[in-house]
Symmetry: C2
Subunit: 233 residues, 2 copies
DNA sequence: ACTCAATAATTGGTTAACCAGTTCCTAATG
DNA sequence: CATTAGGAACTGGTTAACCAATTATTGAGT
């Protein structure tokens, strides 16, 4: 297990090394948007790493929109100037795994916005889905069972109803990390589940009534404990 | 080129098919958190796809925290119940490329928050970096050159100074898409660049003075045109 | 019958060979 | 000399064989 972690760290470092090397290469050769990078084989030889590692690094930079691979043709630098390229790669290299506080802070930001948008834009279908999640949550809680999943699904239904695909995606990204951290640090273990039901109902009603201010307010109350945790601890 | 797009779409669909198949398998066999999935080879045979495709799909589900691969051991379902698993996979399958409006809306949300946090938490080093980006921007604008990159770097410096790694990451993710769309739809082509310099300076000063309210207000003014574009068009 | 070491089978990860297009150079032709 | 068909070389993507580590199985020894 320890070895596994070490291996992953090592791979992580080698990928960072490759990304930095690609950046240096772009600077050295003054590659501009649209220019072609050397082939994956040449890069792997030049950096003394496997071609698979090169592909991985390129895919990551492709994800951030800095490179573009065209099959049977080559890899090209995207329509971003060298300065932005350097700045962004520097940031990407510095990126670390988000701390729990950042996650919670971001979740609160997203939820307060999505709940407002949901109140403005929700369709009838959205209402149905939220209602289903809501009742599944209530049922489990009233049976005394653990209802973390159902809780989560209700919030994701709100994100979906917001009609903003970016925020929906971001919620999907941070949610599992939030869950695992919740379990790890035992957050919200003591909170009263019955109160949770009422808060969820209030949020749902505000969205149903298309009242964005109220929806945001109710969501804020729902996050009161989390808020404390985030800013007092 | 058209073929390329078709190929990508096809791959996209085959990946979705695999993800859905994995979900069905988990439901069919009632796999619970910690249970082991069939090996990649068996899955590839069962779904009649290449093992590479299976690996890709598993990696995606791993990114969303739903699965976990342990080398030389197997792939395991994460500590998330079947219900949440189903809901999240459904959402992931439905995920579409974000529309421009969603991107802008999300960017505004993130920037208004990060600028506030930056005013509260910025270090001296953060100030230096922002100052450098600021002056590079001013210089280019005063020379009548295009300064989209420098503009962007200033905003990324703010995100970094916010001290929230999640928001920083999200800003990095949406920024390149914003840029390409800006270029595509010719947003902000007519805006007066000189005004942009003053607005940037005002934002910087508010952060330097640790005045979060003012910083947010100045950022809001900076985004006035974008705001209009996002909510009026 | 039980233990536990030795081995065989299975796992995810990695590497190298292969594939189908693309690109670029060559040389034959008008 | 210019043009263009032909092909060689190169491209990213794909596949299959390989690897080291883990896990399951076996069977000898007590």
């Amino acid at each position: 297990m320890k070895l596994d972690i070490l291996t992953k760290t090592e791979n992580f470092d080698v990928q960072k090394h490759i990304i930095a090397s690609i950046r240096d290469l772009i600077n050295l050769k003054n590659l501009e948007p649209g220019d072609k990078l050397p082939s994956e084989r040449m890069l792997s030889e030049r950096f003394s790493v496997s071609r698979g590692n090169v592909r991985e690094a390129i895919q990551k930079l492709e994800f951030y929109g800095l490179l573009e691979s065209i099959p049977q043709s080559g890899t090209f630098v995207a329509n971003i100037g060298v300065i932005a390229m350097n700045g962004m790669i520097e940031d990407i290299l510095r990126l670390e795994a988000p701390d729990f506080k950042s996650l919670v802070e971001t979740r609160i930001l997203l939820e307060l916005k999505t709940v407002r948008l949901a109140a403005l834009r929700r369709t009838e279908d959205d209402l149905v889905e939220m209602k289903v999640a809501l009742e599944a949550f209530s049922k489990k809680v009233r049976n005394g069972e653990d209802a973390v999943q159902e809780d989560l699904l209700f919030h994701l239904a709100i994100a979906k109803a917001s009609g903003n695909s970016s925020m929906n995606t971001f919620m999907l990204i941070i949610t599992p990390e939030i869950i695992t951290n919740f379990a790890k640090y035992h957050v919200c273990d003591t909170s009263n589940a019955e109160v949770g039901i009422e808060e969820h109902n209030a949020i749902f009603k505000a969205i149903e009534d298309k009242n964005p201010q109220l929806a945001k307010k109710k969501m804020k109350e729902h996050f009161k404990e989390l808020y404390k945790y985030c800013y007092n601890v």
